[in-house]
């Protein structure tokens, strides 16, 4: 709360923390706005997914995210609604784990990313799913993403494992490659479709 008083344009939809966009049921049913948080082990490609989605870029040099970066991107759906994603790209490092609630609190969407070549990152993804089930917003839309799908020859997490785990936990599952841009837009479009729509008043 706190800082909202000086910002009347935003104060209506805010609860706590970094929650500018926790309220998809904004005044305009055709223009949704949603807070999305990316979680996952370090090095699985969270920032690459975001930069591919927001800027259409891919930078193979690894840039370690510090704290969390904030980016936004708006997409238009076929039913002529637009969805503005306000994306928190969090750092995967262990030292920031305790701060994750700061970023996922009030998020309408959580994208949990692992690297299909790293079973450890898949384990870590499951940790994040459990954490969000316990502490995330009720009704949060969760997506499980196996990234680096271009590295088929190095795959160590079978597709079926991802599908099974996602299904068991009521999540949407997709494998992506930020490098080739494969399934990146699909990921966000699918999320947009699954967002709870406000009932027209």
């Amino acid at each position: 709360m706190g800082c909202s008083s000086s910002l009347p344009d935003r104060s209506s939809g805010r609860s706590t923390g970094l929650n500018n966009a926790d309220n998809p049921e904004g005044p305009d049913a055709k223009n949704l706005r949603v807070k999305l948080v990316l979680l996952g082990d370090s090095g699985v490609g969270k920032s690459c997914i975001v930069l591919r989605f927001v800027r259409g870029q891919f930078d193979p040099t690894s840039k370690v995210t510090v704290g969390a970066s904030f980016l936004s991107q708006t997409i238009a759906l076929q039913d002529s609604t637009t969805v503005k994603f306000e994306i928190w790209d969090t750092a995967g490092q262990e030292r920031y784990a305790a701060l994750a609630p700061l970023y996922y609190r009030g998020a309408g969407v959580a994208v949990i990313v692992y690297d299909i070549t790293s079973p450890e990152s898949f384990t870590k993804a499951q940790y994040w799913v459990k954490e969000l089930q316990k502490h995330g917003s009720p009704g949060i839309v969760m997506a499980l993403v196996g990234n680096k799908a271009d590295l088929q020859e190095k795959r160590e997490v079978p597709v079926q494992d991802g599908i099974d785990y996602a299904e068991k936990n009521g999540m949407f599952f997709i494998e992506t490659s930020a490098k080739t841009a494969d399934n990146i837009n699909q990921l966000f479009e699918e999320i947009a479709k699954r967002l709870p729509r406000p009932s027209p008043s």
Partner: protein
């Protein structure tokens, strides 16, 4: 003097010497690992420093003459003779006054390991300024991860830094993989605890031309092993900064992890920060802020800096603890909330953290950071946004939920800055550079509001394509290639009250990074000997060797470090220093941030 406060803590733990022969043997054994053949000597914890412990440096002080109006030629006797002064002390194997010719070239020549790598990669962003000259040659991040203490190449590195826990677990190593260095870390820990068990504390071990400097911070041990012949106090100060950088990332509450579990492995917590530490260590050789503990400003017209300060102040009044606008490592303006003051070391560590972490450049970020001098136990939250390639805004707050407020603050600030042309002025200043010794005025400048950029007499047309380090292009006939008037090559002026310094741009003959690093090392030795706790502090020092004439002058108000051609005339050099001080005074409104919240501690 505030400078002393940083190092003075060491004097607290002075105690009995360690020069009993019985102590030497095991330590010597331990250091067999370093494959050093020369006898190891344990330096007892003496209060007087290692820099200038004996004779050849002139120690006369001008007692009773507290106030110098000017540094006059008539005072020349205080400089003593012109022998190459030698900061030599017993056991300091490498540095002998009269042999300084060979010594100096060996110390600082291009043979240093960093130097070897200078040709390896040319960064594409070699735009402007000295720091870029360095950056273009320097590869960020950890190198030589494949090495360990068994590698010949690892042993040959000139300067190692280690962080380890008091149980001997490696936390950070400048070179090599920490995990492979577990045995080596355990050895370092054994040395420290061996001495501690005797009720003492090891600060320095000298082994041939190597110095091993230890710093104990609760459960964290920091060690530097160096054969660069930098003074002990400098190396210790560097360890302090490395520790501060770690605290900035994790806070001092990390100590609790060791209380709970002495075998706690800290490396996962620092994952991905190699680049932050390597950039800090690199800055020890190019950034004077690392040893004079002051910050520097980007030269800007007074009104421009005021405009930036006004909008930052506006934001600070709305609940921001610190609002800092910087361009590379130089401050454009900064403002603190009431009674909050920012230590120059914290600014150094913060700007190093922001500049070395690439992710800040990709998008606006919100990250926990700790300012070790402000409050080492608590996280603050930093909103960081790059306004252009080099210019960035840091807004610090105590509130974890303030992101959207800070984002709005940034939008307001950016709007004002572009409306009032601050950002374009910043770009212009980056191109024009700072003070050039070639521009040293012969006479005091007329005090008028319309004086040219830093009193430069040059035509504005010659500036756009000129790089600061590239002055031969400029039409400055009398001094081309030989620095400024009277053989002045370079200077650093530190205002004690403002805790700010200004450093002249490098020009030929100081054109290569190696030469610049050598000069900074010489300044460091000068600084160290001036502030020596045993026989100092001194007011003036004049030394001549085959590389430079160095002149240092310390008053209550400022410190001046100046480097001249080795053949420069002493009387003229002194006169020139007076002119430099006058010049700095004339342009102080452009080069310093005036009237900021009190920074004195």
């Amino acid at each position: 003097m505030s400078l002393d406060s940083i190092s003075s803590s060491s004097s607290v733990d002075e105690s009995t010497g360690l020069n009993r022969n019985s102590d030497l043997e095991p330590v010597d054994e331990q250091f067999g690992l370093l494959s050093l053949t020369e006898p190891v000597e344990l330096e007892p914890n003496r209060g007087n420093g290692y820099g200038v412990a004996n004779g050849s440096l002139n120690r006369e002080r001008s007692n009773g003459e507290e106030e110098y109006e000017r540094l006059t030629v008539q005072n020349r006797e205080i400089f003593g003779d012109e022998r190459p002064s030698s900061p030599s002390s017993s056991g300091y194997a490498g540095e002998r006054g009269s042999s300084s010719a060979s010594t100096a070239s060996r110390i600082d020549g291009a043979s240093e390991v960093d130097g070897d790598e200078i040709q390896e990669v040319r960064n594409d962003c070699s735009l402007e300024g000295f720091s870029d000259t360095q950056a273009s040659a320097w590869v960020p991040g950890k190198r030589h991860v494949d090495e360990d203490d068994g590698s010949i190449s690892w042993r040959k590195r000139k300067k190692h830094f280690f962080i380890l826990s008091n149980s001997g677990k490696p936390i950070y190593s400048r070179y090599g993989d920490e995990h492979k260095l577990a045995g080596f870390s355990a050895t370092l820990q054994a040395i420290i605890s061996f001495v501690e068990n005797g009720g003492d504390r090891v600060k320095l071990v000298k082994a041939g031309k190597h110095q091993v400097v230890f710093l104990v911070k609760g459960p964290i041990y920091l060690v530097c092993i160096s054969c660069t012949e930098e003074p002990f106090e400098s190396l210790k100060g560097q360890l302090e900064l490395i520790y501060g950088q770690m605290i900035l990332i994790l806070t001092k509450s990390i100590n609790r992890c060791f209380e709970k579990n002495p075998k706690f492995d800290m490396t996962p917590l620092l994952r991905g920060t190699d680049v932050v530490f390597s950039s800090l260590i690199h800055s020890f050789s190019w950034n004077p802020a690392t040893f004079i503990h002051a910050y520097t400003c980007l030269p800007l017209a007074y009104a421009t800096r005021q405009a930036a300060g006004a909008i930052l102040q506006d934001v600070a009044d709305s609940g921001v603890l610190f609002a800092i606008l910087m361009c590379k490592h130089k401050v454009i303006s900064l403002v603190g909330a009431q009674k909050a003051s920012l230590h120059p070391d914290d600014m150094l560590l913060l700007s190093n953290f922001v500049m070395s972490s690439e992710s800040f450049r990709t998008a606006e970020s919100f990250s926990p950071i700790c300012l070790p001098r402000y409050n080492p136990m608590a996280f603050l939250y930093a909103y960081v946004n790059f306004l252009d390639v080099d210019t960035y805004l840091i807004l610090l707050t105590t509130r974890s939920d303030a992101f959207y407020h800070l984002k709005d603050c940034r939008i307001r600030i950016e709007l004002v800055l572009s409306k009032s042309n601050v950002l374009s002025e910043v770009q212009r200043s980056m191109i024009d550079g700072g003070m050039h010794v070639e521009d040293l005025p012969l006479d005091p400048l007329p005090r008028s509001g319309s004086s040219p950029h830093l009193g430069q007499q040059r035509l504005p047309t010659d500036s756009p394509e000129r790089l600061p380090t590239d002055s031969p292009k400029r039409p400055r006939e009398p001094f081309i290639g030989i620095g400024g008037p009277a053989g002045l090559w370079h200077f650093i002026y530190r205002s004690i009250f403002l805790e700010q310094y200004v450093s002249s741009e490098f020009s030929p003959p100081l054109s290569s990074p190696q030469q610049q690093k050598r000069l900074y090392r010489a300044y460091q030795r000068l600084h160290d000997s001036m502030h020596d706790k045993g026989i100092g502090p001194h007011k003036t020092q004049f030394r001549r060797d085959e590389n430079y004439v160095l002149l240092c002058w310390v008053t209550q108000d400022f410190e001046l470090y100046a480097a001249f051609d080795p053949l420069a005339d002493k009387a003229v050099a002194i006169k020139t220093c007076n002119r430099v001080c006058q010049w700095v005074k004339d342009v102080e409104n452009e080069i310093f941030l005036q009237g900021a919240s009190p920074f004195s501690w």
